[in-house]
Structure formats: structure tokens, C-alpha cells
């Protein structure tokens, strides 16, 4: 693009780049701020992501609980095989299940649905457990009926050490409080949990509702070859279909998925910040070069090459970029400890800032690409500056200037930028969609500006002078209307999108329990308890909406005779359906909130054939068609079932929802338990403790408690989203200001001439307002449309929440943004309303 400057001129060019930068520091302050904020966001996100991934990788063994995990899910498994592992490595057995724990002998006893992990003396094989008091951990192994509850249970039930509590109908002694466990990748990430000795298993009644899970953790002896041992263990279990072997590299897959999703969102926010900053920088630079128009002419007159002058400007940007990259990257290390406060609470991980040369290079490269892409058309405008202007005393305002070469160069750089952001992102398609949308917006706003100019040129202007002036300003040859509309449009779109994401979040958090959601879930109701359970609940309140459905567990062994894992990637949203055994049910009629969207309800003519009604999203993700065959493992027996319809299942309504429903004619003979939901008119009528006393093996989940937890997590996400949005909004406002400043500087001289010609300040202000209103009114309607689409995409796809179009809020937000922008315009113009005549006339 540029001619290579000779080496001997290079020193001079560098010297002038430094000199000009130090002299023009104030004039390009907004470039510095914009660049700093956007690079800081990018640096923070990269550093945070890397720190989290390092923590997960470093502690992969601790998170898994061993060098290898043997998971038998609901059954104890083949102990002969397990014992063979003991010969070559250390083994720790643990069983997890969910049940109710409640206080005892208090006037108002309370209960909590808790995940209990029974552990042996070998636990933990890696990492450590932190607890209080000192002897608590030993007590659960040495004393029967002792339990170590997590901090939240301890505090919310106001427990004391040695206090008696009930686990189902068994009395346990609280040995202490467990603060952290190393293997957080499983159940403990978001729920209440407790640790007990392995003897507890014999005391507790376990059922489907207990969500039972048998695991064996393996630790290899020091010095043993990991690969050889892994191979040996794989050989031991090669014929066992029920076992799942897990390795440290697959640990914490749930947490990794959360991190990846959030990183994806943050990465889109950071590239928004970068691109928007790029536009701001282009505007400010154009304004800056316009101010230096005369100096550039003088340099050309004394013999500087145009290329050398451009390099002076590029060098100034490079110096700024280098300094700001280092500063923002260094400051991002302060951000990690702040983020860690939330992360340690939410995910149970403790992260340390991680320095990475690759990340530093990535931040610099992204900054460099954005700077070059957006400064090419501005700095190229230097070629249009003529030294002969100095003789004529007329300096025309410069415009963005593209040559064919520079367009090609910009496109190549842009592709590099897109590749840099898309490659290795959690969901590259999201990144590509984002870039596509961004440039579509840019194109639409450009076309809008041309349309406005075209239409206004056709308009017959009346005698209103300010109106005439404003139309002339918009439509004049070489007007900056396209730049202003594109900047304003993107800035406003960004503000509205983030604001709409924010309001949707706020609504989701503020929203009470969904209307059709029950108050309680009851799991683990045995066939012989069903009638008594129903009577007991109805006895507490007659006017109740009680739903009781059968429940069995089954695993998908094959789909159309093939391994189900060949149908879907582990990263897919619907992978959970085949990860382990799932609960399924059956129903005579289609559930009201699960409409059939393809196929028909049960074929009663085939009572001996297992028929399956499948969640439509799951079907889509697996690529299942009506008529496909699922081979299910039900209590050790493989049964083929035909998929005969798809249902639209919305799990967010918190009612009873299953991915798979079976035809009752076939399924009712399978041994099963029941799951119930209850919605009370007056929830206070329900006596939780009384119910636990009567049915100790039934687990009771209070929806309100669950929602409180979800709300707490959403609140943390909302805080993060709001903070990041607020920073990006600042960039958006800087961009809008920069667009105004580009106009303002141009208007400075115009206003002087108007002043000399006898225009009143009022008339100049009117013309500015009219000009703004014409542009803003056209921009806001399109920006609203883009913001609605953008926020829908973010809320529904990235955060998987319900998006709602709130027209009132949108109008209000648009109005507020309009007012702020108008305020910016008036204050900027006020500065230019009283230009200092002397320096302007003297061309200073």
C-alpha cells in the first residue's frame, strides 16, 4: 500500500511522530480513551478466560476426583471388575444421592433437599477438603450417623456442631461444616450438599427420586505409566456395557460449557467494543487531520513526501497502540481478582491472573488490525491535501478516501480480524453471524444516508432559513452525512441492544414463579405409597392442583442400530439425553403445555410396541425423523421403540416435562415410581415436616428455593452484563460524540461566517437541531429494529432466557438516547457558536 520509505528518512519520521503525538495529546484524547476501554475489555476477557481454563486444567484430576472415574450410575456395578482395579491402583468408592434433611426438636423445623455424598477413608484422592471444626472430617468415618453439611445448609438451618438433624427418618449428628471439596465438577456446583461415611448407605431408603449414582475414583501409583494403566482398566471393563469411564481431560464439562458460553458472549461484546471504537477513532482522526490540514500542506510545501506524512500519522497510532495495549493488559490483571469473588461463589473455583504472551500479542494484533482498517480511509485522505491550498488560503474539509488498493487491503485485514475472533471461539457460527450483522447494519445505515440526501435534494425548501441551512448542510457535496449517520446508527443500535438485553434480564430476574409452575416437586413416590401420598396432600388442602405421573429410568443404547454418540457432539445442548440414564414417563393424553408439532399421538392399534414421543429440539439436534428407532435400556433389558411424534417442550415453565414419553399401553407394566407436582391455593397450608415424617423416602423440592438460587445466579450474570454493557455504552457515546465533533469542527468556520453575516445564535442552534432531528429520526427507527433482533438473539440463544418485546421501554430508551445525543450536540455546538475570530481569520 505504501511506498517503503528510505531508512535514512525513517529516523526523522519517527522523531516527528513522537513530537506530534506529545503536542497533540489533548486533541486525540478521545482516541486514547476509546482505544484503552476497548482493549481493556478485550484484555480482561482473554485473561479471565485463560485463568479459568488454567485453573480447570491444573486441577483436572482434583475436579474429577482421580486419574480415572468409573461411573456405574444407578447400580453398584460389577464389583469383581472393580476389585481387579484395586490390584493396580488406589480406589475410592463413593455414592451420591439426593434426599431431605431437616432440623429436629425445634418449634418450627425446616428442611432442605440435599445431595449427599458417602465417602470412604481414601477420599479425596486429589486435592483437599476444607472444613470446621478440626476433627469433623475424621468423625464422619469413625462415628456412625454423623454428617458434614455445606456452609449454606449450616447457616440457613442455623445449625450447631453436634446438633441432631434428620436425614429421611434417621437421626444424624452434625459433625461440622464443609467449606470446599476438590471435585466440584459434579453436583456441588450449584446445590446444597453434605458428606457422610459410607455406612450411611445402609440406613437410607434409596429410589429413582434419590438420583442415585455409584462412582469409583482411581488414583494411579506414583511413577506408573498413565497410558498403560488406562489401557489396562479399559480392558478390564471392555465387555461391561453399563460402565462409563471418565478421564481428567473430560472433567468439569458442565463448568467448561458455562465458561465457553459466557466467553462467547463476552467475546462478542469485546469485538463490538473494538469495532465501535474503530468507528470513533476514524471519526476523531478525520477531525484531527482536518485540523492539521494546514500543517500537512506546509509539510508538503517544504518537501515532505505524502507517504512520509502518512507514516508519521500511522506511527503515532502505533506508539499509542503499543502503550495502551501494555497498560490495558497490565490493568486487566486487577480485574481477575474482582471477577474471582463471583466465580469462587458461583463455581467453587479460585482463579489467579495468568500472564500469557499469546494473549498480549492477540490484544495488540486485534488493536492493530482495527486501527489500520479504520484509519486507512482517514489517513489516505492526506493524499488529497494540496500544498497549493497555502496560496489560495482555502482548506477543504477532508473526507474518507478509498483507493481500490486500500479497499482490497482493508478487506484482507478485516478477514484476518474475523478469523482471529471466530477461530477457537466456543461457537464460531455465532461469531460469523455477528460479523455479518454488524456489516449489514453498516451498509443499511450507509444506504439510509444516501436515501435521506436524495429525498432532501428533491424537497422544495420553504423560506425558513435555519431549515434551509440544515438541509443544505446535509445534502451539500462532500457532506459528512453518511459518516454521521453510520456512526450515530451503530452507536444507537449498540446502546439500544444492550439496554434491551438489560431490561429483559431485569424482567427475568424480577419475574415471580411462572404461572403454571407448581409450588412443590415430590420425587421418589413408591407404587404402594401413591394413594396415601395423594390423600395426605389433599388432606392438607383440598383446593389443590395435584399432578402425579409415573416415572422410570432408561438409557439410550442405540439409535437406528447405531451408537447414539455418532449422532451428536458432546458440546451440543441435547447431549444430556444420552449422557446417562434419564427419567421418562407416559401419558394417555398429550400434555397441555407440550403441543405436538409433528406426527400423531399414540397408535392404540399397536399396544405391544413401545412408541416414543420425543422433544422436538432433541429430535432436531440428533437429526431424528418420525419412524426412527430408539433402543432403550430399561432395567437391563433392551427394548426397541419407534419415534412417532415430536413435542414442543419448554422446560422453563417448571411443570412436569420429559424429553421422552412412552405409550401407556406398553409402559404401564414396567416397574415404576411416581413423580408429583402440587400447586396450592395457599402454600402455607402445606406442612413440609409433617410430609417428611410420613414419607421419609420422598424428596420434596420447593420451587421457590430453586428459583431463589437461579435468581441469585442470574443476578450475578446481570451484574456482569450490566458492567460490560456500561463500559461499551461509554464507547458508544464517545463514538456519537466523535461524529458530532467531526461536524462541529467543520461548522466552526461556517458559524463564524454566519455570525459575520448576521445570523443569530438562536438560528444557528435551530439549524443544528433540525439537522440532528432529520438524521436521528431516520436512524432511531432502524436502530430499534436491529436492537430488537440483536437482543432477541442474545437473550434466547446465548443466555437461553425468554425474550420479550417491550415497546414502551424501547421508545423510552430511544427518547433518552435522543435527548442525550441532542444534549451532546448542543453543548458541542455551543462551543463552536462563539468561535474566536482572530485565530480563525489568521488561519491558526
Amino acid at each position: 500500500m505504501e511506498k517503503l520509505i528510505k531508512l535514512n528518512v525513517l529516523g526523522l519520521v519517527i522523531k516527528y511522530a513522537f513530537k506530534d503525538l506529545s503536542r497533540n495529546f489533548k486533541k486525540i484524547f478521545s482516541i486514547i480513551v476509546t482505544l484503552f476501554i476497548s482493549l481493556f475489555i478485550l484484555s480482561s476477557i482473554l485473561t479471565l478466560e485463560d485463568s479459568l481454563k488454567k485453573e480447570l486444567n491444573d486441577n483436572a484430576k482434583a475436579l474429577l476426583g482421580g486419574d480415572l472415574e468409573i461411573d456405574y450410575n444407578r447400580s453398584q456395578g460389577n464389583l469383581d471388575l472393580v476389585n481387579r482395579v484395586k490390584d493396580i491402583a488406589t480406589l475410592s468408592q463413593m455414592v451420591e444421592f439426593s434426599t431431605m434433611i431437616s432440623t429436629l426438636d425445634r418449634p418450627n423445623n425446616q428442611s432442605l433437599f440435599t445431595r449427599i455424598k458417602t465417602i470412604d477413608e481414601q477420599y479425596p484422592l486429589y486435592g483437599s477438603v476444607t472444613y470446621e471444626p478440626e476433627d469433623a472430617f475424621n468423625r464422619i468415618h469413625q462415628e456412625d450417623n454423623t454428617i458434614l453439611v455445606n456452609e449454606n445448609i449450616f447457616k440457613s438451618l442455623k445449625l450447631r456442631v453436634d446438633e441432631k438433624i434428620k436425614v429421611q427418618d434417621q437421626v444424624f449428628t452434625v459433625a461440622g461444616m464443609v467449606k470446599t471439596v476438590p471435585d466440584v465438577s459434579g453436583f456441588v456446583a450449584f446445590g446444597e450438599f453434605a458428606l457422610t461415611g459410607k455406612q450411611t448407605l445402609d440406613l437410607i431408603k434409596l429410589n429413582i427420586g434419590s438420583f442415585l449414582n455409584y462412582e469409583y475414583k482411581v488414583r494411579f501409583n506414583d511413577g506408573d505409566d498413565i497410558e498403560t494403566l488406562r489401557k489396562k482398566i479399559q480392558d478390564i471393563f471392555k465387555d461391561d456395557q453399563k460402565v462409563i469411564l471418565r478421564y481428567p481431560e473430560n472433567s468439569a464439562s458442565g463448568i467448561k460449557r458455562i465458561i465457553n458460553n459466557f466467553s462467547q458472549f463476552l467475546s462478542l461484546v469485546s469485538i463490538s467494543a473494538m469495532l465501535i471504537a474503530g468507528i470513533g477513532i476514524a471519526n476523531t482522526l478525520l477531525s484531527f487531520i482536518n485540523q492539521n490540514n494546514m500543517s500537512i500542506s506546509v509539510r508538503k510545501a517544504v518537501g515532505f513526501f505524502s507517504g512520509d506524512i502518512k507514516i508519521i500519522y500511522y506511527l503515532q497510532l502505533l506508539i499509542l497502540l503499543t502503550t495502551i495495549t501494555i497498560a490495558s493488559f497490565a490493568l486487566s490483571f486487577l480485574f481477575v481478582p474482582i471477577a474471582n469473588i463471583y466465580i469462587s461463589k458461583g463455581l467453587g473455583l479460585s482463579i489467579q491472573p495468568l500472564f500469557s504472551v499469546i494473549n498480549l500479542f492477540k490484544v495488540f494484533t486485534v488493536g492493530l488490525l482495527v486501527l489500520i482498517i479504520f484509519s486507512i480511509p482517514t489517513i489516505n485522505a492526506i493524499d488529497r491535501v494540496k500544498a497549493s491550498n497555502l496560496f489560495r488560503n482555502v482548506f477543504q474539509n477532508l473526507q474518507f478516501y478509498y483507493s481500490k488498493k486500500s479497499i482490497l487491503f482493508s478487506i484482507i485485514l478485516l478477514c484476518l480480524l474475523i478469523i482471529l475472533f471466530t477461530i477457537k471461539s466456543a461457537n464460531p457460527s455465532y461469531s460469523l453471524i455477528y460479523f455479518g450483522s454488524f456489516f449489514t447494519c453498516l451498509l443499511v445505515f450507509f444506504l439510509l444516508s444516501r436515501t435521506i440526501i436524495f429525498l432532501l435534494k428533491k424537497l422544495k425548501v420553504n423560506s425558513n432559513i435555519p431549515f434551509k441551512v440544515s438541509i443544505k448542510n446535509i445534502t451539500q457535496t462532500k457532506s459528512i452525512t453518511p459518516i454521521t449517520i453510520m456512526s450515530l446508527g451503530l452507536g444507537v443500535t449498540l446502546l439500544l441492544t444492550l439496554a434491551m438485553v438489560g431490561t429483559n434480564f431485569k424482567r427475568e430476574i424480577g419475574k415471580s414463579i411462572p404461572e403454571i409452575a407448581p409450588d412443590y416437586f415430590f420425587v421418589g413416590i413408591q407404587q404402594n405409597e401413591k394413594e396415601a401420598f395423594v390423600q395426605k396432600v389433599l388432606g392438607m388442602e383440598k383446593d389443590i392442583n395435584l399432578e402425579v405421573v409415573p416415572i422410570i429410568t432408561s438409557g439410550v443404547s442405540k439409535i437406528n442400530g447405531k451408537d447414539p454418540k455418532t449422532f451428536i457432539k458432546p458440546s451440543n445442548d441435547s447431549y444430556w439425553v444420552i449422557r446417562s440414564e434419564r427419567r421418562s414417563s407416559w401419558s394417555d393424553i398429550a400434555p397441555k403445555d407440550n403441543p405436538i408439532i409433528e406426527g400423531n399421538w399414540w397408535d392404540l392399534m399397536r399396544p405391544n410396541q413401545l412408541q416414543i414421543s420425543l422433544d422436538a429440539k432433541v429430535a432436531r439436534d440428533f437429526g431424528i425423523k418420525i419412524g426412527d428407532i430408539f433402543t432403550l435400556n430399561i432395567y437391563g433389558k433392551e427394548i426397541d421403540g419407534e419415534v412417532i411424534n415430536f413435542r414442543d417442550v419448554d422446560y422453563r415453565d417448571l411443570s412436569i416435562n420429559f424429553a421422552m414419553l412412552f405409550n401407556p399401553q406398553f409402559a404401564k407394566n414396567i416397574p415404576h415410581e411416581y413423580l408429583a407436582t402440587a400447586k396450592f391455593k395457599d402454600v402455607n397450608q402445606f406442612n413440609e415436616i409433617n410430609m417428611i415424617d410420613s414419607f421419609p423416602s420422598i424428596s420434596i423440592i420447593k420451587i421457590a428455593d430453586y428459583l431463589t438460587k437461579v435468581t441469585a445466579i442470574l443476578n450475578q450474570v446481570f451484574v456482569a452484563v450490566t458492567l460490560i454493557s456500561a463500559i461499551t455504552i461509554i464507547i458508544g457515546l464517545i463514538v456519537i460524540s466523535s461524529a458530532i465533533i467531526v461536524q462541529g469542527k467543520i461548522k466552526e468556520f461556517q458559524n463564524l461566517v454566519f455570525k459575520i453575516l448576521g445570523f443569530s445564535k438562536k438560528e444557528i442552534i435551530y439549524s443544528s437541531i433540525i439537522e440532528f432531528l432529520i438524521m436521528f429520526m431516520s436512524v432511531i427507527s432502524i436502530a430499534m429494529l436491529f436492537a430488537a433482533i440483536g437482543s432477541y438473539f442474545i437473550i434466547e440463544n446465548i443466555f437461553e432466557l425468554n425474550w420479550l418485546f417491550d415497546f414502551k421501554s424501547l421508545i423510552l430508551l430511544g427518547f433518552i438516547i435522543g435527548l442525550i445525543t441532542l444534549f451532546l450536540i448542543i453543548t458541542t455546538n455551543l462551543k463552536f457558536l462563539s468561535p474566536k475570530v482572530y485565530p480563525l481569520i489568521r488561519n491558526q
Partner: protein
């Protein structure tokens, strides 16, 4: 016979050697919309080294356009301009810049000093560009010679009109160019400052042996030049 021939050859050679600038059928036309404005028409001109020339004429006659062409800041519509026997109309913008950098100093009516550079820095700019050994000191010495010792580190906005023009002249002559182009150098100055600038300029040309082409409305200034050329409607009268 031989001696006479030799003498004639020597005279021709001398004339060619001492010829600094030659304009050959130079035309300049501006396009404004559908109209073409002929600014300069068939200009032929030769100037010798150390010669001083003034262009006079009414506003819009084409004086300034002519020195813009000589400086290589505008492209001719047709014709040739030879500077030291090199046709600058065939050169690229960068090649012309190189010639201008070393050989031509320009003085403008409105001074045009770089606003955020001090007086010394403005003068040192051309010296540094031409790789002088100690640009800062040379610039200082020159400014001191022009009576600006007390203004060395002042910004242009802190200088009077006369002072600004003296800095501008110092910048133009700092590299001792062979040709100085001055466009209305006293146009923005009062009579006292005008006289001072005029004296500085002509004294310098005399001392250093540079050529000077100036455009002016000031008859007194124009008369100081060895040749006074009037331009009327784009033609040399």
C-alpha cells in the same frame, strides 16, 4: 575564426549553465462543472541563476497560479517547465517534492507556520528534512540574524505578523535554496514591517546568490526586482 567560434560556444554554454528555470508554452486550465477556465495561456519564460523577478498584475490574472506551477505544486495542463534543465512536469509528486525540498523555498502571504511548533522548530523542519548536521542551532542562528533572538521558543500564535513572516522567510531560506518563491510576502503586513521584510529578502538573495520570484501588488517591492513582468489575463504582457 576558431577563437570566435569557441567564444560563441562558451557564451551559449554559459547561458545554458546559468539558466535556472525555463517555461515552455505552459497552459493551465481549471475545470469547474461544465466550464473550463483558462488561467494561464502559452507562457514562455526563462530565468537565470541569481536573477530576481517580480510578477505584477490584477487579482485573478494568474500570478499565483504561475508560481504554484513553478513550485511543482500544481500540474500544468500542457507545456513544460524545466528546473535546472530537468522537466519537472514529467516527474512524480514525490520526485518533485525531492527537488523542492533541496532547491526551492516558498514564502506565503499568510505565513503558514505550523501552529504547535515553536519558531525554532518551524525553521528546523526543513533543515532536518535536508539532513543538516545541527538543525536546531542553525535555525537559532538564522532567527537571531533576523532579530528574533527573544522569540526562539515562542509558538506562532505568540508572534506578531511581522515576526511570523520573518520566521517563514527563515524557514524558506534555511537550506540556502537556489530559488525562492514568494507570494505576496508583505500582503498581510503594515508598511513598516513590509519594508523590513523586503529588505531582509533582497539582502539575503544578494548575499547568498539565490534567485527570487515574487508575486506582489506592492509596486515598491516589485521595482526592487531586476525584472518586472506583468501578467494580464493569464498571459505575460
Amino acid at each position: 575564426m576558431l577563437t570566435r567560434q569557441r567564444t560563441i560556444i562558451l557564451i551559449i554554454k554559459y547561458l545554458i549553465m546559468s539558466e535556472l528555470l525555463k517555461l515552455n508554452q505552459v497552459n493551465l486550465t481549471y475545470q469547474t462543472g461544465i466550464d473550463n477556465i483558462k488561467v494561464l495561456k502559452d507562457i514562455d519564460l526563462k530565468t537565470m541563476k541569481k536573477e530576481t523577478i517580480s510578477f505584477v498584475g490584477e487579482s485573478g490574472s494568474g500570478k499565483t497560479s504561475l508560481i504554484m506551477l513553478i513550485a511543482g505544486l500544481e500540474k500544468v495542463t500542457s507545456g513544460q517547465i524545466f528546473f535546472r534543465n530537468q522537466d519537472i512536469t514529467r516527474l512524480s509528486e514525490d520526485e518533485v517534492s525531492k527537488i523542492r525540498r533541496k532547491n526551492i523555498g516558498i514564502i506565503f502571504q499568510s505565513f503558514y507556520l505550523i501552529p504547535n511548533y515553536t519558531a525554532v522548530e518551524n525553521v528546523a523542519l526543513t533543515l532536518e528534512l535536508n539532513k543538516f548536521k545541527d538543525p536546531q542551532n542553525e535555525a537559532k542562528e538564522l532567527l537571531e540574524r533576523f532579530g528574533l533572538k527573544h522569540r526562539l521558543n515562542n509558538l506562532p500564535s505568540q508572534l506578531s505578523g511581522g515576526e511570523q513572516q520573518r520566521v517563514a522567510i527563515a524557514r524558506a531560506i534555511a537550506t540556502k535554496p537556489e530559488l525562492i518563491l514568494a507570494d505576496e510576502p508583505t500582503g498581510n503586513l503594515d508598511s513598516e514591517n513590509s519594508a523590513m521584510i523586503s529588505e531582509i529578502l533582497f539582502n539575503y538573495v544578494k548575499e547568498e546568490g539565490s534567485s527570487l520570484i515574487l508575486v506582489t501588488h506592492d509596486e515598491k517591492l516589485a521595482d526592487k526586482a531586476q525584472r518586472k513582468i506583468e501578467i494580464k489575463d493569464g498571459k505575460i504582457d
